[in-house]
Symmetry: C2
Subunit: 393 residues, 2 copies
Amino acid sequence: MNYQFARRLDAAPESFLDRLFAVSRDPEIISFAGGLPMTSLIDVAGIRDAAAAVFADEGEAALQYTTTDGYLPLREYIAKRYRSRLGIPATADEIRITNGSQQCLDLTAKILVDPCTVVGMERPGYLGAIEAFSYYQPRFKTVEITEDGPDMAAFSSLCREERPAFFYGIPNFQNPSGTAYTDATRRECAECCRETDTIFYEDDAFGELAFDGRPRIPVKAYAPECGVMSGSFSKTVSPGMRIGWIYAPAPVIEKFDAVRQAADLHPNALSQAVIYRYLTTHDYEGHLERVRRVYKKNCRQMCDLLDDLLPDVTHTTPEGGMFMLATMPEGKDSMALFQACLKEQVAVLPGVPFYAEGGGRNTFRLNFSAATEEEIEKGMRQLKQAYQRCGTR
Amino acid sequence: MNYQFARRLDAAPESFLDRLFAVSRDPEIISFAGGLPMTSLIDVAGIRDAAAAVFADEGEAALQYTTTDGYLPLREYIAKRYRSRLGIPATADEIRITNGSQQCLDLTAKILVDPCTVVGMERPGYLGAIEAFSYYQPRFKTVEITEDGPDMAAFSSLCREERPAFFYGIPNFQNPSGTAYTDATRRECAECCRETDTIFYEDDAFGELAFDGRPRIPVKAYAPECGVMSGSFSKTVSPGMRIGWIYAPAPVIEKFDAVRQAADLHPNALSQAVIYRYLTTHDYEGHLERVRRVYKKNCRQMCDLLDDLLPDVTHTTPEGGMFMLATMPEGKDSMALFQACLKEQVAVLPGVPFYAEGGGRNTFRLNFSAATEEEIEKGMRQLKQAYQRCGTR
């Protein structure tokens, strides 16, 4: 049998995520490579009780087919939270429930990207987005991310000269760098998008994980008609239940519904009902505060150990989220570091797959949300051993 | 804001599924238009107990990120069932868990179909497949389905002359017609696929719903390397939990994994664990027998009422599944019937969207799995009223 596959598969990068998840599940290895929220912070008892209540009150509906748009009470909850927390006039009509926010990436590209369409990305940018978009065969154009957000001169040139289908960014505690856009940068991005009819795809997987709990105003607040946002309960409640959402203007939602239905009919009815029940009957704010406190402590610990143990490695200093980016001196190769790390029973993620136009060889991503204090202490010392053993290219 | 959407959206047919689900949820209307399993047959208590056991034993794992391939015990269960029930040597390595079998349709097209690639379909064929495939801009070539399966001369010509990326069929109790391929036709299809290097995509959503409980040997059994099968627990356990699977040769699985990960990372961890627990701790065979008995009774009742009330309408006589296809005399228009039906508070599904190359104007689909005996009795009389009122084109 001679299998003939579609040409779009040639456009996809080698997938790192699988190897990453595989490594992060080997119990012998201390993994800073993955992107898991801390398992012990998942409120298993709370979610169990929410599930029991759903089975008791609405079991049949939660197990039957439902609508493509998603569970209305959950969409209303999300809209209300946008209104009360961020002051933006979201309504349930503009929100659709998805299988995590990863599905938003796939389906947004499906409705916006033809082969050779330009897609704007951050440099470095989220590798899961690069993978999702790649199957629609775009031309990636990247803009460097500084501590303040995208380089605005480059962002403006991109929007004006390349007319991207959209620019994909993570203004809050980006994956992989952990940096956040300043408010001024958000306003400038919005203004530029409005002037150039550019969609700003704002991945807000980490907005609730600001260490200080302070809401940051999204780019979409300053240019609602240009803004497509996605969010997720994966980092805050449970990744395994795969509940995220998209928040977008009506013309985008209409197309999104069509491709969503063709993709897998509708979101998981049980998970939607359970998450909604959990959010409305448990102390979600208290839960978020616990998560933020632990991640802040972990992040500070990791930054301090990096400074102490690897003084010639620079790093970002996140104010939220789950990741930081480390940069080794020029000539160092993070793939070599990755291999050396595995020998020391520790894992970091090489930065290369985050650079859609190449580069980043001397960078690596560190996750600080999954490990305990003891694991961070031990793992960072193992990282130091690996770093010292691995030479320069 | 001027939104520019991708060209692939122009290729998609107007979506009927949403209207269909909307109608099927209006409590005033007796709906034969949808595709819901009977709600009262969903084992809410059994699934509730399975969920409680999962939370007790493996709650953290069921709520955390997991792997793209799916929950190994569930994949092993499915493989074992293929081996014991159908005598085909399936292994867990060849099986991936998906969000219902609809996701298999989307992702299989994603790995196999470029714009203008030929895709073979049954005529009539499942409209959800037509919708899913359409976004990859194929050229559909259809083969008429008879009471024995596809017209073999046309099937053979299609494979030999058009070299389709795959042929999509539902050999067991097809949607929309309810017909099944004979064993001879299955062998002939397999032989032709092997000779022409054609993939046979065998959607087996209904195989467990044979009224007599007798397993039918799949086409894939006769040509394993050509066979891509999909299955689902939506018709047998719970649609709302969105658990289906694909069973395919290794080279297909490898590509499938890559696009699945980009699409939404991995299947719902909680639903997978709960379904597995349910299957292995409850009387699944007894449950299936109950479902088969009710659907058989409903189907017979509906066939008899059609014969009595609408003698000039012909119809298929399914031996399983959830659907039958009715054909009105030439000149009758099922869209007009659909409108007349809504006035009588009953719903049927016009056949047109099942014909990827056009036609089928005088056909409509009837679902017999969702309604009670009383609803079928009443609804069929309302259908008669609607039919008598709606004229000829």
